[in-house]
């Protein structure tokens, strides 16, 4: 489920929360840390809720348990890199399981 919009440099990608604990404090901190230096906007969408992946407050309140499908959306020069590293974090289950 990957599609590129070459006009705006926007990328979106679906991920599934795979770690048992879901997106709790530690994964949230890992996400924010990884995204801090990325030169792009990056959002995580759950249904109608959107979290700014650079904000610990925002990610912490996006309550996503195991099995939840999330959409990552990035826009900007580092968008591809940001999405790839975020997807990797999810796939590695935040080094938890």
């Amino acid at each position: 489920m990957e599609h590129f919009n070459f006009d705006s440099g926007a990328i979106s990608r679906e991920v599934i929360v795979q770690n048992r604990q879901g997106l709790h404090l530690r994964p949230a901190a890992q996400i924010v840390k990884a995204m801090a230096t990325m030169n792009c906007d990056i959002k995580i969408r759950k249904d109608n809720k959107v979290a700014n992946a650079k904000s610990i407050m925002s990610v912490t309140t996006l309550i996503a348990t195991k099995g939840t499908v999330l959409t990552i959306e990035a826009n900007g020069p580092d968008a591809a890199l940001a999405v790839a590293s975020l997807v990797q974090l999810f796939e590695q289950k935040f080094h938890e399981d």
Binding site: R20, H24, K54, S55, M57, S58, T61, I63, E96
Partner: protein
């Protein structure tokens, strides 16, 4: 109320970190802040925003300075998470927007934001909700105090020799602690596994937690006694009580000094019988305490605390990390006995949807739970085996009740071994496998079980509960919970004989192992290995060094034939204080 304040009151809580302290209370006011909420005029909006960003800046500096201290890894991670909030531009923007759009002061805007955050948690599962709302509270409190100019005492400037009394103490508070100024702590919330307790144990700071209302009932300057051997706090004690505790305290200290003299001496009876004394523990930070008390081996590591501490199922990696640290920090000459999960529906983590049981002690717990949830069990066994390369690991299974069950468990262990071999993962090939003897049926067939394991460890608490059918937490029958019932002694004796005949190790863990009243009796029954709380180990050793093993046998033979508990207890008490007057005169109160 002034009169009421001078009346002696006793508060019951839980032991956070053992010890005794008598001193003046110093109230750390981390109670509810009265948030000033007011509308502001348009021209004040900029000023309010500036106040907010100043408060954030200050919060950041405070956290950074806390992080500069020498902290444990856990401690650091928590503070790092707090720090992440203070650099969260998104959060800062939200508050500034609230100030600007609603014309409200910075305090009100901050409160609005955090109230909103807490509301988003409503739909969440209880465990994560509690975890998150605690984090929100801590962050909120820091920013708000800085906004309101409330001096957040950093606790390194408190007067000397005080007892900290607080609603709760945060990890940041604990980092700023000047240990030399503080002699004890008492908090409303928390249990033995809360952060404050763990950190206090590492500092050997006597503390009682979970007192519920202590912070609202005590004022700075009140005389307070922390009895963290019993788990209570006495406020405004009478002079008589103070006297008694001061005596207890000086005896306690005197005893500790005297005990430390035998720290490096062997635990050998007067007639040369060697006795092993090992430590029971739950947390990595207890290793230091264990070493200070001259104990080399771990006789019981309660692995479920990794789960309870986390508040959820610990992963293989997380467990591997703890087990390897444990083995590495005790050194390769020390034995580390790790007991597999002993969780029951009464202490299952919420994530596992514990079944509601009318009788959890006899329900799906410990090894039964592990066989039911083989996925969790196998994760633990993998973590254990992988860590085994770092030292001398022994694996112990709790609550085994029969041979079929034991074989099933060993079969799963073999499966895990094969899996690791296939994956090419290394593990030690000399891991001893043993079981707890705590279910009466296991004690009865100890001779059969002894053929198939490398060691036994007798868990007296459960053995007594199951044998005498007494729930110790039920106040109507708890007086019947007695280690001096002859049935208990017979089961212990029989277990030891079976182990000796099969040539396997047997040790006593559980409270009875650390109860010095019982030491001679147990040696008389043939016990040659004890596993106790680290702080209790030297007490046992001190006694062992004065016992003659032959007269201990005579003593035990006499006691075991006393079929009335009261008669046996009296006999033991009298004999012990007669034989070892200088130990038991001073000891009576710790038992």
């Amino acid at each position: 109320m002034a009169d009421g304040k001078s009346i002696m009151r006793v508060f019951k809580g839980q032991i956070g970190s053992p010890g005794i302290a008598v001193g003046l209370a110093y109230l750390v006011d981390r109670g509810k802040l009265r948030v000033p909420m007011r509308m502001v005029m348009a021209e004040m909006v900029l000023l309010e925003k500036k106040r907010f960003s100043d408060a954030i800046q200050l919060s950041r500096e405070q956290l950074q300075s806390a992080l500069e201290r020498d902290l444990s890894e856990d401690h650091r991670q928590i503070l790092d998470a707090h720090l992440a909030w203070t650099v969260d531009q998104y959060m800062i923007d939200e508050v500034e927007k609230l100030i600007e759009n609603d014309y409200i002061n910075a305090e009100w805007a901050t409160k609005k934001l955090f109230d909103g955050l807490n509301a988003t948690l409503a739909s969440e599962a209880k465990r994560t909700r509690v975890e998150r709302s605690q984090l929100f509270d801590e962050v909120f409190h820091r920013i708000m105090s800085n906004l309101m100019g409330v001096q957040q005492e950093t606790l390194d400037t408190v007067p000397r020799n005080v007892i900290l009394v607080a609603h709760s103490l945060s990890p940041a508070d604990m980092a700023h602690f000047d240990r030399s100024r503080i002699i004890g702590m008492a908090t409303d919330i928390g249990g033995p596994t809360s952060h404050a307790s763990i950190l206090a144990r590492g500092m050997e700071l006597p503390g009682v937690v979970g007192l519920e209302h202590i912070a609202t009932e005590v004022q700075t300057g009140d005389l307070v006694i922390i009895d963290a051997l019993e788990g209570s706090v006495i406020v405004n004690p009478t002079l008589l009580v103070v006297d008694k505790f001061q005596q207890r305290l000086s005896l306690f200290e005197e005893q500790e000094t005297r005990l430390l003299e035998i720290r490096d001496m062997p635990a050998t009876t007067k007639d040369g019988k060697e006795i092993t004394i090992q430590a029971n523990m739950e947390f990595l930070d207890e290793i230091e305490v264990m070493k200070r008390h001259g104990v080399k081996d771990i006789g019981l590591f309660r692995s479920e605390f990794i789960f309870l501490l986390k508040g959820g199922v610990a992963t293989e990696e997380e467990q591997y990390e703890v087990y390897s640290k444990l083995l590495q920090s005790v050194g390769s000459n020390s034995v580390v006995t790790i007991r597999t999960l002993d969780l029951g529906s009464d202490k299952l983590v919420e994530e596992l949807n514990p079944p509601s049981e009318t009788n959890p002690a006899m329900g799906l717990r410990a090894i039964r739970f592990c066989l039911e949830r083989e996925d969790i069990f196998k994760d633990q066994l993998r973590a254990l085996l992988r860590a085994s390369v770092f030292g001398k690991l022994r694996i112990m299974f709790p609550m085994i009740s029969g041979l079929g069950e034991l074989r099933k468990v060993k079969y799963v262990l073999d499966e895990v071994r094969q899996e690791l071999e296939l994956e090419g993962i290394e593990f030690a090939d000399n891991i001893d496998v043993g079981i707890m003897i705590e279910v009466p049926s296991a004690a009865v067939i100890a001779d059969v079980l002894a053929e198939e394991v490398d060691f036994f460890s007798i868990g007296t608490n459960d053995l007594i509960q199951y044998t005498l059918a007494v729930d110790r937490s039920n106040e109507h029958v708890s007086h019947m919970f007695k280690s001096t019932h002859s049935a208990i002694l017979r089961l212990i004796k029989q277990t030891i004989e079976a182990a000796t005949a099969a040539g396997i190790d047997v040790s006593m863990c559980g409270e009875m192992g650390g109860d010095v009243q019982m030491t001679m009796l147990l040696i008389g029954l043939g016990v040659s290995s004890f596993s106790t709380n680290p702080a209790q180990a030297l007490h046992v050793k001190q006694l062992v060094r004065q016992i003659d093993s032959k007269s201990a046998v005579e003593f035990a033979n006499k006691a075991i034939n006393m079929n009335v508990c009261g008669e046996m207890s009296r006999f033991i008490k009298e004999e012990m204080s007669e034989r070892f007057p200088e130990i038991f005169e001073k000891f009576t109160w710790t038992i």
